[in-house]
Symmetry: C2
Subunit: 341 residues, 2 copies
């Protein structure tokens, strides 16, 4: 491995000039710049990032804390973040933080603090006050996806509005017996998504004067099998069966659809189903849904974090930014079948 010294002597200039020529900082004549880059290329020289970081204090790394990878929402965020970071010449350091206490501790106490990252993107991180404090104490830009989260700028869709929109769609079709299959409130891995979607659902019903109680909401594991299991349970009992279900995610919704099919129920004739996400499988199941784009959320988070890095003093607009989401109507929702008296 050749160092800057070798390039300097080959190009017939000093190390300082090589550094300036290659980094584009400070004055270098066009002619010298060319000589230097030729020399560097012919030697296959690349700057040592450790040496460079040591003096500049910048690592060109961004740490990403994410609770899981193997799920559409999270994987999409990660893809978006990765793409955006690489585009801007930053590297991505991945920290998959699960529920385990010791793992969380390790990441917070140890990894993030070692001067390895310039900034942090925290994805739906349920975080304690002391952890927030620790992150802020780093003095590094940090943006959360999800939220809101006291003290750090976050972005997400407006979960309440999205849930309201979904529920209103069902109400508008004429449904009066709408159940909500959501995530377990006690088990939300993130910033209260589950309770916010439940809230939006309740708001819509209340506004429309449609009665609802605690039996209108059932918790499910947040994936297809989870939706399936709850779907089987709810739909198996004809007296309990609603005319429409608002599922808190497309995966749950698809599980419900599978359960309905298995019970011989037609969607949407016997049951309307709506979800949230616009998951890649939504189209296959004709699922009406509220779209969100986690990849774009990832890109946005990167943009903010980089902007803070390159323009000190700048801060993201507002504590919690809500991205728009829109209704996509497919074939899983329809007016309720006229009641056979």
């Amino acid at each position: 491995m050749s160092g800057i010294e070798d390039v300097a002597s080959l190009a017939g200039v000093s190390k300082a000039t090589v550094s300036r020529a290659l980094s584009g900082r400070g004055y270098v004549s066009a002619e010298t710049r060319l000589k230097v880059s030729d020399a560097a290329a012919s030697l296959g020289y690349v700057v040592s990032s450790s040496a460079s970081s040591l003096v500049t204090g910048r690592t060109n790394n961004v740490g990403v804390i994410i609770p899981m990878i193997n799920q559409w929402f999270f994987a999409s965020i990660l893809e978006g973040v990765e793409r955006a970071l690489l585009d801007r010449g930053y590297d991505l350091m991945l920290y998959n933080v699960t529920k385990t206490v010791e793992e969380r501790l390790r990441v917070f106490e140890y990894f993030l603090v070692r001067k390895r990252v310039d900034a942090v993107i925290a994805v739906t991180l349920e975080i304690t006050a002391s952890e927030t404090e620790r992150l802020l104490a780093l003095g590094k830009p940090i943006v959360g996806i999800g939220g809101p989260l006291a003290g750090i700028p976050t972005l997400s869709i407006d979960d309440i509005a999205a849930a309201r929109l979904a529920t209103e769609h069902l109400l508008l079709l004429g449904h009066r017996d709408v159940m909500h299959v959501g995530g377990d409130i006690d088990e939300q891995m993130d910033f209260h998504v589950h309770s916010k979607r439940l809230m939006g659902y309740q708001e819509a019903l209340t506004a429309a004067g449609v009665p609802h109680d605690e039996h209108s909401y059932v918790a499910a594991r947040f994936d297809i099998p989870g939706g399936y299991r709850v779907g089987k349970q709810i739909l198996g009992d004809p007296r309990r069966r609603p005319t429409a279900i608002f599922a808190a995610s497309d995966e749950v919704a698809i599980g419900v659809i599978l359960a309905a099919r298995e019970l011989g129920l037609s969607v949407p004739d016997d049951l309307s189903v709506i979800g949230i996400d616009n998951h890649p499988l939504a189209d296959l199941f004709g699922l009406t849904t509220i779209e969100q784009r986690p990849d774009l959320q990832g890109e946005q988070a990167v943009a903010w974090v980089i902007r803070q890095l390159e323009e000190p003093g700048w801060t993201p607009p507002g504590e919690h930014t809500m991205l728009p989401s829109q209704l996509i109507i497919r074939s899983s929702t329809a007016p309720p079948r006229p009641r056979t008296v």
Copy 2:
């Protein structure tokens, strides 16, 4: 941020001793070690990894090149790799390399070379000879998941054997009309998985003396909608319809099952379906499959790479290691329905 100097003066020792005490290298008395770690803790000191890397030449980073994240197989590998690396105190640098030529170039020419990683794990990387050469030229440990790949150690399941096993299971049940829905040979994102699974299928049929031709194999996009589309196509035509389908992945198999259901066909009464993976959804669909554990493959790759790092000269056993995989029988396969004459 306090430096080693501060810790040294607080503990009343030299920088050298602090370094030794904290890193555990060289002689330090128990008493001094304690003083030093107390001082470090009270100052919130952590070593600067740039400074440390600069002198040791080690970054404690491992680069992971992966073609996609949003798919069970890849996400699982990534989770396995991440967990294993963090456990050993290494950080993970993520490079999501898609098909784009310029992106590949950028990663190979630029990112990996900047002295930022100690080793590389390449996941199902379809790689040119010159790229391989470039990777090897880094002189850094590198392990591939997938393979084989000339010159670098790789690991994967034995795709041919797995496909053979799956096909044999169908043959053993008495099927003679078995089709294969696989990936597009021309589009394989990785180390010839698709052609190897096709080959295993053909081998099994040939060995059993069951005739097969180019019409026995149909290419599908490698996901649920892909399997669904091809399933609709194959199963829609009663004259063409086989009694069993071996799908090259569980996602494709699930798509086929969905198509069959939609056509009013019963699985397994009218059609047996088997896949490969043991995807989380396999259980929900009662899918018989050949299990593989991408997370363990990831962990294994990490183990090899770290061992090479910590024990110079050691190399993984063999060029291409094949992991065992096993048949999991569920309800999607059964003997063919007796022919109604």
